[in-house]
Symmetry: C2
Subunit: 335 residues, 2 copies
């Protein structure tokens, strides 16, 4: 295997499949500090930029106006598991913003958190829009629309002022010209943006640096995620457990199709990675492999997260037949 | 994109993810005729060689001895959907061989065929070993053990004479030295073999050529698969629909982790491919892309199978937000 980053899937001790990973590590001055594969690869950020999409609600005064709690703000940045406390927080945001649940534009989706999905089924309830992993983001968007007096109707569409605001926000933080951003429709129906990994990594370096400096919007947002990691993802989820295990030294956010973004506020670094083939099973090992290689997490922290970094492969007989592991060699770049 | 084979995942018109595909096209003389990526890549064959694993049952006289039907023989080669007629055929093989259902070593698994899985749940029945997609293979193995007077106990283990026979059979057909085969434990608990793609492709070219020549074992086996395509996979499955659409001109078999093997009996060609990252979603588009590029299927046949070749990506709002498509450039090799 040549220089670069992979996630290997082993059956016994033989590599059965491998995932290529593209990585950009960027500092808050926008300098590429380390990389693997194609750091300038343009890919859809998907849910990895939910924090950027939640920022206008803080900066424009919506959090104060509606009296949102830190946990509710964290949920606006979340791909949550649809656990009862997530659903409760999403409903609370909607209630405070005076928006009915039916205004949510995201599709109905069973909770990702399996016990919560089972409990719904057992109660004879179908999954609703409120259980969609993006319902916090959507509730926050409805609150922002209410704040600005924009119509709730069609808030998810590209031409709506709310999505135009999201577009501008993502372009600003990623320092990407708007005409260099490609767009598509996300799993939940809103606009999503294709951005170079370098831009995504830079955005998280800048966001975390701004939070460290005490800039109010980024400061409150990052603090909310660190204080309420369970609202950023949920039980048995890496985004949550990484904040917990590192005591908030690392704030990370997953995106669909093999994207992960992380910020190390204390070090002024942002990290963005894309599993080339979009595999979810490779994104978590890749992130932990990069963080360990950078020295951004300790071997003990990696060990505490080993179930995410090097998960076992089980067969239908419940035998352990293999495992997944990251193999990361970063190319150092000039600072 | 340089020379080679990929499966692209597009969101709107922008590539979001891409899967690399390694391909070997080999004739029945073992000559590499066309390729993409690394045709000698060694990978686990998984379920793609179930036909080779069923062959001893025909050649040693087990099919005649136990009076197995063609449909039952086809099921021995299947990764089936657990539909009622699959379960019935698996139970029939076991009954004819005098083996109880509890002798199956594969783990319990819900039927892959969703309506059959729902029906089981609605009936308050848990999934059993008989619903495992490999239960036909296991039933056939138990019949072979009975035929030879081998103990049923432990028939799935590497050291059992039955798995040693499978090992020899795979080595023989793939023309791979036994010490060049790596082994692992499959999803259903039996031994699985890592073989170069060239060997896998050659095995299917040879198997189909032998069937065309009228060799009894391969002839009966391939005929059974062509006559009973629904027993090779099931409703809504490419292996089944490809045999149907081509009138048996192509016989193909999927394997887990992105493997597909196909034989074109009339043309003396075998094809083996591996999606590097193991993605199921890419294996079907890749196979159809290769077959079209080789001229082994017509544009009309590709069109009839377009739901497999270029599936749509839908979001939680049931909107079509993208699609998957194969991009295959084969390198021609000397004949």
């Amino acid at each position: 295997m040549t220089h670069g980053a992979w996630v290997e899937v082993l059956r016994g001790e033989t590599v059965e499949s491998r995932h290529r990973v593209h990585i950009a590590v960027v500092d808050d001055g926008g300098r590429l500090r380390a990389s693997a594969g194609e750091p300038a690869l343009r890919t859809f950020a998907r849910s990895s930029v939910k924090a950027l999409q939640a920022l206008p609600l803080v900066e424009d005064g919506g959090v104060d106006r509606f009296g949102l709690t830190d946990a509710e703000l964290a949920l606006c940045c979340a791909s949550h598991g649809g656990e009862p406390y997530h659903v409760e927080a999403a409903r609370s945001i909607l209630a405070k913003a005076g928006a009915p649940e039916s205004a949510l534009a995201c599709g109905a989706q069973p909770p990702w958190h399996e016990p919560s999905a089972s409990a719904l089924r057992a109660a004879g309830e179908g999954p609703g829009r409120i259980h969609n992993n993006c319902s916090g983001k959507h509730a926050g968007m409805l609150a922002l629309a209410r704040l600005h007096g924009w119509p709730a109707d069609g808030y998810h569409r590209a031409e709506h002022p709310l999505q135009q605001r999201m577009f501008a926000e993502v372009a600003r933080w990623t320092e990407t010209r708007r005409d260099a951003l490609a767009t598509g429709i996300d799993g939940c129906g809103v606009l999503t943006f294709a951005v170079p990994l370098t831009g995504l990594a830079g955005a998280f370096a800048r966001l975390c640096a701004a939070a460290e400096r005490g800039d109010e919007g980024p400061g409150r947002l990052v603090a909310a995620m660190r204080r309420h990691p369970e609202h950023v993802a949920g039980t048995g989820r890496l985004c949550t457990d990484l904040i917990r295990v590192t005591g908030g030294r690392i704030v990370a956010k997953v995106g669909a199709e093999g994207v992960y973004v992380a910020g190390a506020p204390g070090e002024g670094l942002g990290i963005a990675l894309k599993v080339e083939d979009g595999a979810k099973r490779a994104a978590e090992p890749a992130l932990l492999g990069v963080l360990l290689r950078l020295g951004a997490i300790t071997a003990a922290e990696y060990g505490a997260l080993e179930g995410y970094a090097e998960p076992a492969l089980m067969n239908t007989r419940s035998e352990r037949v293999g495992r997944i592991r990251p193999v990361v060699e970063l190319e150092a770049r000039g600072g």
